[in-house]
Subunit: 196 residues, 2 copies
Amino acid sequence: MAAQAIDRRIQRTQELLKTALMSLIQEKGFEALSVQDIIDRANVGRATFYAHFDNKEDLLRSGIEGLRQSLRECQRKALSQTPRTEERVFAFSREMFTHANEHRDVFRAMLGKRSGSVIQQLFHRMLIDLVREEVKALAPRGDTSSAPTETITQYIAGGLFGVVIWWVDGRMRLSVEDVDALFRRLAIPALKATAR
Amino acid sequence: MAAQAIDRRIQRTQELLKTALMSLIQEKGFEALSVQDIIDRANVGRATFYAHFDNKEDLLRSGIEGLRQSLRECQRKALSQTPRTEERVFAFSREMFTHANEHRDVFRAMLGKRSGSVIQQLFHRMLIDLVREEVKALAPRGDTSSAPTETITQYIAGGLFGVVIWWVDGRMRLSVEDVDALFRRLAIPALKATAR
DNA sequence: TCGCTATGGAACAGTGTGTTCAATAGCGTT
DNA sequence: AACGCTATTGAACACACTGTTCCATAGCGA
């Protein structure tokens, strides 16, 4: 075997913990949650938890990693085929809104007011990275780390962040299509400020 | 006297607590802070603290209230004189960047990565309210609570939030004028999406 | 001066944290 | 199937912080 097989016990434990975390987040929100709650729900020993993660935030990070990779992948695909088309810009946004819509319970619990701002912060950073990639792709003339470019990145990422939080936390009256279209309509002019 | 004079002891205590909080935030950040730290620094009894505030977040809220009112005031002024001028739109943003620049130590400690996201959340909400006021002023045709309008509000507020956080947390290479100008250049087109 | 109230300080139970240890269970390999 | 290795367990640990209660006292405003 090429890949060194991972001990089944480890997989099992980590899976149990992540699952417990997610279900608990939906019930109580992240902040209100204790390590004790998690290990009780997962039916895992205290010492075992700390053998795998430093604390509950560490566990959360590793849990969110999945979403991050999925969005990155989706973006990578879109960027590789026929760049420069306006249709393809911010390809990940549609995917994200869709994803949020399908798992609205989890998302609402994770990003809503009740649940902690730690998650929000992680999510915000994730969006910044994704947006930066797009901005970079549209302003490739060595302009990369210039201040205005980064400002635009931060602005758009912040805007997207704000919209998602609001959309998920409210009654989500807007459809995925509408909210995504609105976001694009708002973001693309800003992008052009780069391309000048 | 008309105004019911407030017991000097109360003023003194609350002042001591707020001052202690602010100085501690600069040293350790908000999250890492305990009520114990605060009362030690303020040299105030434990029971006294809880006689005034429910917890450290309650104290924080009351501390931030000052900034909120100051910005609101500044916005109110700008909105009352000669509306509709592009110069006057987002009048509070300049004030805020200036304020942040003058107290950059406090701001960095309060909004930076180290310090808690509770503060960030409070700050974000504050910006949303301020931006909504502006958007409302430019789309006054009974359109108030329509979805797109609110989306735009959330987008712009989020964008501003993102830019401020980034600007404050980084080395603040951009001058107040530059960062404010950039923000306006990015936000005003979005505003026009309302005015259609 | 007097009455009222904010304060101080100590003690309290409760909750959670992160670590340690030796015993045990269960994995992958031979 | 038997082995050695490692993950898991459960208990116990010291520690920190929370929010509340009590009463004596200090300091305020009148």
